[in-house]
């Protein structure tokens, strides 16, 4: 339950705060939630990763759908990727990994604080 709660908190906060702050704000959010809210370190990572992966995947998918894959089909050629979904997944992985690691770091800080 705690894992799901953390995913929801990080997802909500990262969606709202990214409307205003640069992309790395997701790391700050993960770090704080990891410190205060996470149970086990692996759960912290999973929470951070899943939350931002879902948000980035969902938002990119929505944009791409409304854009009829017009831009993604060009960007995948620049990055030598096979299809529109792959650039959505790569984007989501980059966000997910960054936030997951930050959440883990927050949780590990709690161990020594």
């Amino acid at each position: 339950m705690q894992l799901i709660r953390n995913i929801i908190i990080i997802a909500l906060l990262s969606f709202l705060l990214q409307l205003v702050f640069p992309w790395w704000i997701i790391c700050l959010i993960g770090f704080i939630v990891g410190y205060f809210g996470a149970d086990k370190p692996w759960q912290a990572f999973v929470a951070g990763f899943c939350a931002v992966f879902l948000v980035w995947f969902g938002y990119a998918f929505y944009i791409d759908h409304n854009n009829n894959h017009l831009l993604s089909s060009k960007i995948i050629q620049l990055f030598h990727l096979p299809n529109a979904v792959s650039i959505i997944i790569v984007s989501a992985l980059v966000g997910g990994l960054s936030c997951g690691l930050a959440t883990l770091t927050g949780r590990l800080l709690k161990n020594i604080a």
């Binding site: 990214q18 409307l19 640069p22 992309w23 790395w24 790391c27 370190p41 980035w56 938002y59 990119a60 944009i63 791409d64 409304n66 854009n67 009829n68 017009l70 831009l71 993604s72 060009k74 960007i75 050629q77 620049l78 650039i87 790569v90 984007s91 980059v94 966000g95 990994l97 960054s98 690691l101 930050a102 883990l104 770091t105 590990l108 800080l109 161990n111 020594i112």
Partner: protein, 829 residues
């Protein structure tokens, strides 16, 4: 179980500390990397985030909303109606608001393009891409584009009306830039990792200088001097002089002129036009020995077509006017289609993103269009310095001081490169020992009309609101560089054409700079430029050909840089047809008839006859039956192109001397040369021991072409059609293939009215019909500069098929709104 702690140098180290710090370091490193560019790749975290990266440039294709904005800088309300093609129709209550909004809307759809084009002209690309652009930046500065732009800006500011328009336009651009946060930047900024900067009036001047650098570069003084030095004056005249039997001048033959040449223009027929008694002769002339020390210019002139037909030759009894400027085909397109309406203006046409007004267009009284005049407006002066310090140089036996202009070039890594450019009374020393290791015996200073103060925008501003012929001529007075043939038609049934620009008494060879008499002493007065109004033949036209016959009182250098093919075809079609209408004009724009082939192919076939193998007979028979049309679905043009190119390479191999920059005679001169000279030494191929003849190189060229085609395609049956072979590309300005339109299938080529080659072509096609008072336009691009918009390249297909869109041209906003996609309302409070 792992130990929870261990000892290191007698200290207790806990695993939990290590894991925290490891995790912290990994996270911080990852975030750092993702936030910074990796080599040519953008910062991936930023770029891939759907909240700020490229995803934000993927526009919603499914809904378009009306919006209302508040701009206290405006004097009154402004409405902008976007039609189905996203063409903006700006309705303002006064001209300042109109140009403010032109700036705002242009920036909204074309910001990066405006920015990069002016940064290129200013020699500032290194700031964006780093050291690899340094050589280009230094060149741009050293030929004086920024220097010329500064003078132009100063001059424009002296005219209060021009200054007001320019300021309003820049304010509009800046209002848009200020409204942006990084997530809104055009995608190219995100890819290259930089940000837009304030739009200043100097940038508008730079855009003009950029055009000058594209179009007013047709002098070959150094190349000509080199040629004369090696082969002599007689061969030079023979190879490079306009041929006498060309009669399709811009100004119809024997048009009388009611003025005499001003002083300073000595009349000689085919020599460079200045009195050359004091000029060093070519024999002892210094030359540069490397192509690096010669400015690159296309072999064939960057061309365009325009014509106007009088009411006497049209179905409606009112004039028709056409224009199609041929430029490099790029995305975003060089043109931005717009409709501007205020109480004194109702104008429609192609605008130059980054600059106010319409450049090629029409209003409800007049229409105008431009082609490149290609007149020589540059000279190179040999400079004699006192010593190696190069602080003083000789003019009329006295020492004059050079002026050092220090160019500050900033590189991407914020390092600064300082370049010292020496300026003489003539202009800058472009190549010297500090730049491209100029190996000439003497340095040369560049003099160019693009360095002179000018206000070309006044021309367009006045033209945009012109009502008649007098307004048109009055508007042209302000126009200096690059020289253009302005075609004109009015609703009141006048047609006209003027070759407009500031034309000095130039030389076609390097000039001795130690004698001030060799400097430009006179300019042809604007009202004496070649012009004709309502000629008897019922039409006016231009297509970059030689402008005027010998009845013109001023001498014009006959050293051939002109492209005469298209004018022959245009004039033939316009003479032969009566009762013309818009359909006739559309067919003409797409006409693929190849005059070059008509001139040269019968001779080639005649000379080749009987020398081919049985298999090659197929190719020759094939060409014999060709109707000289470079249609997309024909294969003949492919064979002809290969043969003609191979022949050209073999014929002019003398001009490939790597240590002596020279220029090949252009295709028109080549075609005449082949027909009229059967014994020239130039038929000899320098690579071989034997002495080749005309017949021999025609045949060898054919063998080479056939071999190449066979190797490339396996058999002659598999030769692709012309449209596939030519593979026209509309290339993104950053040369990124995925953002370009590759392999656009269409006919045409250089020297053909439909001048679409692989990378160049009609960048804007416009037809204005004063009978129905309608305009038809199309261009190879789209209104949006954003590759994430469906309006990015949506016009290319229709353009490639020779189809048009009707301009929604009404001064009544409600009429325009009937076809609106959405409307932006701008309030002044």
């Amino acid at each position: 179980m792992l130990a929870k702690e261990f000892y290191f140098q007698n200290k207790v180290i806990k695993v939990k500390h290590i894991s925290f710090f490891l995790s912290l370091i990994v996270t911080a490193t990852l975030v750092y990397i993702l936030n910074h560019p990796l080599g040519p790749a953008p910062a991936l975290g930023k770029f891939l985030s759907p909240f700020e990266g490229f995803w934000q440039n993927a526009e919603n294709e499914k809904k378009f909303n009306d919006e209302t904005f508040s701009f206290p800088e405006l004097k009154d309300k402004v409405s902008v109606v976007f039609d189905e093609r996203l063409v903006p129709h700006i309705f303002a209550q006064n001209n300042e608001d109109l140009f403010y909004m032109q700036g705002y809307i242009t920036a909204k759809y074309r910001l990066w393009q405006m920015d990069i084009q002016t940064q290129n002209a200013a020699g500032r690309v290194s700031e964006v891409v780093g050291e690899k652009a340094l050589d280009n930046d230094r060149l741009q500065r050293r030929i004086g584009l920024q220097y010329g732009a500064e003078k132009a800006e100063e001059f424009i500011n002296q005219d209060p009306e021009s200054k007001a328009i320019l300021t309003a336009y820049c304010n509009g651009v800046n209002a848009y830039i200020k409204s942006l946060s990084p997530k809104d930047y055009p995608i190219e900024y995100k890819l290259l990792g930089y940000a837009p900067e304030e739009w200043k009036p100097i940038k508008v001047a730079l855009l003009l200088k950029n055009m000058a650098n594209m179009l007013s570069v047709y002098e070959f003084d150094i190349e000509n001097t080199n040629f004369i030095q090696k082969y002599g004056e007689k061969e030079f005249q023979h190879l490079y002089t306009e041929v006498d039997d060309f009669k399709d001048f811009i100004i119809p033959e024997k048009t009388p002129f009611d003025f005499k040449a001003e002083e300073g223009f000595a009349r000689t027929t085919d020599k460079p036009i200045r009195d050359k008694s004091e000029v060093i002769t070519a024999k002892d002339q210094p030359v540069y020995e490397s192509y690096n020390n010669v400015l690159k210019k296309p072999d064939e002139i960057t061309g365009s077509n325009n014509w106007a037909v009088s009411g006497a030759k049209t179905k409606s009894g009112k004039p028709l006017l056409c224009n199609d400027p041929h430029l490099e085909l790029n995305l975003p397109s060089i043109w931005y289609e717009m409709h501007l309406v205020s109480p004194t203006i109702n104008v429609y046409g192609a605008t130059l993103p980054g600059a106010p007004c319409v450049i090629s267009g029409f209003n409800d009284s007049i229409a105008w269009g431009v082609t490149n005049a290609g007149r020589d407006v540059r000279d190179w002066f040999a400079i004699k310095f006192k010593d190696d310090k190069q602080e003083e140089y000789m003019v009329d036996g006295k020492w004059e001081k050079t002026i050092k202009r220090i160019e500050h070039i900033y590189l991407k890594n914020s390092k600064e490169f300082l370049d010292t450019v020496l300026y003489t009374r003539y202009g800058p020393i472009v190549f010297d020992k500090t730049f491209r290791n100029a190996k000439g015996k003497q340095l040369l200073a560049l003099k160019w009309t693009a360095h002179q103060p000018s206000n070309e925008f006044k021309t367009f501003y006045l033209m945009n609101q012109g009502k008649n012929y007098d307004d048109y001529r009055n508007a042209l007075k302000n126009y200096t560089c690059p020289s253009q043939n302005f075609v004109f038609a009015s609703r009141s049934n006048d047609i006209a054409i003027v070759e407009q620009g500031k034309h000095p008494n130039v030389s076609s060879e390097i000039t001795d700079g130690t004698n001030s008499k060799n400097d430009w002493t006179a300019y042809i007065p604007s009202e004496h430029n070649p012009s004709v109004k309502n000629p008897e033949r019922g039409f006016v036209s231009s297509a970059n050909q030689f402008p005027v016959d010998a009845t013109y009182p001023y001498p014009i250098s006959k050293v051939g840089v002109y492209e005469n093919f298209r004018s022959i075809r245009i004039n033939r079609m316009l003479s032969d047809t009566n009762k013309m209408d818009v359909t006739t004009m559309q067919k003409m724009h797409s006409d693929n008839y190849n005059i070059f082939a008509e001139m040269i192919l019968p001779t080639l076939l005649e000379l080749e006859k009987g020398k081919e193998t049985a298999e090659q007979t197929q190719l020759l028979e094939f060409l014999t039956g060709w109707n000289y049309r470079n249609d997309a679905d024909k294969k003949e043009p492919v064979v002809f192109e290969e043969w003609a190119n191979a022949f050209n390479d073999m014929l002019w191999d003398e001009m490939l001397d790597p240590n002596l920059p020279m220029k090949r005679p252009n295709s028109y001169l080549t075609a005449n040369f082949l027909k009229t000279d059967s014994t020239s030494i130039f038929y000899d191929n320098l690579q071989t021991g034997e002495r080749e003849t005309r017949e021999m190189i025609v045949s060898i060229a054919f063998q080479k072409a056939a071999a190449k085609l066979k190797e490339k395609y396996g058999s002659f049956d598999k030769i692709p059609d012309w449209g596939t072979y030519k593979a026209t590309t509309v290339m993104h300005l950053a040369k990124l293939d995925p953002l370009s339109k590759l392999n656009v299938y269409c006919g045409g080529n250089r020297g053909i009215i439909n001048a679409t080659s692989d990378r160049h072509g009609p960048s804007w096609r416009m037809i204005v019909d004063f009978g129905a008072m309608k305009g038809y336009c199309v261009y190879p691009g789209g209104e949006s500069g954003n590759p994430g918009s469906k309006f990015y390249d949506n016009l290319v297909e229709k353009w490639s098929k020779g189809e048009y869109f009707e301009a929604n041209f009404s001064a009544d906003i409600e009429t325009v709104k009937k076809k609106a996609l959405f409307t932006n309302q701008f309030n002044n409070k």
